[in-house]
């Protein structure tokens, strides 16, 4: 990166533009920007702050609420955690999201490796076949998918949610784009040493692909965790419901127990918030990376 020589005069007669006055204007501008952004950021945090504030109140205090908590209590959290269902929902969400993420990463990366590295006659056919999948909105398919899953007798099982979530066409492209950029000499070296394609994939290319693997894994995990429509259709057994389905199903029945409802919201969001706090940089890099590659 080159630096441009600054030829503006530092001090000069009053009334003329000097480097100092420009610097001061820029500093003021930057400070204003910061101030405006801080104000908006604080506003953005209000809903979450209000939620937390409500959750630590006793239910009776929520029908005439102010920011002050007169009688702080963990009662709402205790009620919810003692209920039992929420633990099943955590387990369900965790199992389904992990399986979906693992499944997507494995199947998509394998297919992408084949498309990127291997030569076969129908390569472009397969490529375009998968390309159309990116344009297909999954939500439009709920009716036929439901019939299919029902016919397979998979309703009310984890597989009913996991299997349709695994084939993610966009993941294949993200992996392929990344693999295309990995130098071939490593592959060639491995193959000269007698490694088959699968070993090349597993031992050579995948270890080099950690950033894209973690990006795809995290995104699939989060997307699967937050998915509502499909699990809502196929999971009617309360013991198997995921967190969003559980929340959507019982939210009306809390009535005027608003503190309980807000505690429920917090508990429902907690796992992902923790995930975000630990993987913040990866997640942000993931968005920036895959997004800009367009």
């Amino acid at each position: 990166m080159t630096t441009v020589a600054d030829t503006r005069p530092q001090h000069s007669a009053p009334g003329t533009v000097t480097r100092d006055s420009i610097d001061r204007r820029i500093k003021l501008f930057n400070a204003t920007c910061a101030g405006v952004l801080i104000a908006f950021a604080l506003l953005w945090l209000v809903p979450i702050a209000w939620t937390i504030d409500t959750a630590f109140k006793p239910n009776a205090e929520t029908t005439n609420p102010t920011w002050a908590i007169h009688d702080p209590t963990l009662a709402s959290f205790r009620t919810l955690l003692a209920q039992g269902d929420i633990w099943n929902w955590y387990a369900s969400s965790f199992i389904i999201s992990t399986a979906s993420a693992a499944g997507t990463v494995l199947t998509a990366s394998m297919a992408a490796f084949a498309l990127s590295r291997m030569r076969f006659r129908f390569r472009w056919v397969v490529f375009w076949f998968i390309l159309i999948g990116i344009m297909i909105p999954h939500q439009a398919l709920i009716v036929p998918q439901f019939r299919e899953v029902s016919a397979m007798h998979l309703l009310n099982t984890y597989l009913a949610v996991i299997l349709p979530q695994i084939p993610l066409a966009i993941a294949v492209f993200i992996f392929k784009q990344f693999f295309d950029g990995v130098p071939r000499d490593l592959d060639e070296a491995a193959r000269v040493d007698g490694a088959g394609f699968f070993r090349t994939y597993w031992r050579v290319v995948m270890p080099l692909s950690r950033p894209v693997v973690s990006a795809v894994a995290i995104f699939t995990f989060v997307w699967s965790w937050n998915n509502l429509l499909w699990p809502l259709l196929v999971l009617s057994n309360p013991k198997l419901m995921t967190i969003p389905v559980g929340i959507a199903t019982v939210q009306g029945s809390y009535g005027i127990r608003y503190a309980d409802t807000m505690a429920f919201a917090i508990l429902g969001a907690l796992p992902l918030v923790l995930l975000f706090i630990f993987f913040q940089r990866r997640i942000v890099e993931g968005i920036a990376g895959t997004g800009l590659k367009g």
Binding site: D6, T7, C33, T54, M118, P144, E188, F276, V284
Partner: protein, 314 residues
């Protein structure tokens, strides 16, 4: 980012390399198929298969509680959908939601990213504030905003009342409900675009700005002449992602208003859900789904067409 191919590397070929290449050229098909099989099997089973099945189903009057396709209906389901005011209303609601949410989600995110780019320290705070809502499940976001919108005791109502205005019925007034949902959605998803724009801004070389300021360009001019054009690709990506995501909206309406009041917020997907899973009419629901499918494909197609030209221009 360059793509190396075997051809490029083989500038100095050796007999061994040739042999290796030739050998592998022959037998790629079977191992390739094996590697692609897991994905392709699930893909055909759960994406392509249902897509075709959906179109087939739309020509019959199937019932959710009966197996089989049901009696043949020809184009009647499509005729019914296209003549049904409830269908068009749901299409309009989806479109209206898209119109209400896309501009703020693009423009506000851009403005915030511009402001954020100027700030040296404390970036983590802004990232947290704006992106945290994005990782909340829709159900949690819905609980938070239903509480904010609660009549009489919700925070928003109280704030409005504190300024002396009568409290609007956020989710109960058919004319206001969609605005309330859109407002909540902007809060929820702005963070994603913010991060995208922030990354894009950081990729713009600083010397462009330095050169411009030496030429006497003020910050506003720099934004107009440098920043916005350099971010054109990011912007088009953000806009199309936003539009397609808005077309697929379901969760907020389902949880917060159940499509009401008086069906005034019911989007297309919830209409499909209602006719398919509450009324049990899966054939008709498949027809509506197919029409929705075509709409989303059309929007994606338009974008692909437009950005193809854009890449050539750059």
């Amino acid at each position: 980012m360059t793509t190396t191919t075997a051809e490029d590397l083989a500038t100095t070929r050796t007999p061994t390399q040739d042999a290796v290449r030739g050998e592998h050229q022959a037998g790629h098909a079977r191992p390739a198929l094996l590697l692609m099989a897991p994905f392709l099997i699930l893909y055909v089973l759960f994406i392509i298969g249902p897509s075709i099945y959906m179109i087939v189903m739309s020509f019959f009057n199937g019932s959710l509680v009966q197996s089989g396709l049901g009696p043949f209906a020809g184009f009647r389901n499509y005729a019914e959908a296209l003549g049904n005011p409830a269908f068009w209303a749901s299409m309009w609601h989806t479109l209206w939601f898209t119109i209400l949410t896309t501009p703020p989600l693009v423009v506000l995110a851009f403005v915030f990213a511009l402001l954020g780019d100027r700030v040296r320290r404390g970036r983590w705070f802004f990232r947290l504030a704006f992106f945290l809502p994005y990782i909340l499940p829709s159900a949690v976001m819905a609980l938070i905003w239903m509480w904010l919108y609660t009549p009489e005791i919700g925070l928003l109502g109280r704030v409005v009342a504190a300024f002396g205005f009568p409290e609007p019925s956020w989710l109960g007034n058919p004319n206001l409900a969609m605005w309330s949902l859109a407002f909540a959605t902007v809060w929820w998803t702005l963070g994603f675009n913010f991060v995208l724009y922030l990354a894009g801004l950081q990729d713009i070389p600083r010397e462009l700005y330095e050169a411009a300021s030496i030429d006497g360009a003020g910050p506003w001019q720099q934004i107009r002449k440098i920043t916005i054009p350099m971010l054109a690709r990011t912007t088009s990506l953000v806009v199309v992602l936003q539009i397609i995501a808005s077309l697929k909206v379901f969760d907020q309406m389902y949880i917060m208003t159940s499509g009401g009041p008086n069906f005034s917020t019911r989007p297309v997907l919830e209409y499909v859900y209602d006719v398919g899973f509450t009324d049990f009419r899966v054939g008709y629901a498949a027809a509506v789904s197919t029409l929705f499918f075509i709409l989303v494909l059309a929007v994606s197609g338009v974008w692909v067409f437009l950005t193809r030209h854009q890449e050539q221009g750059l």
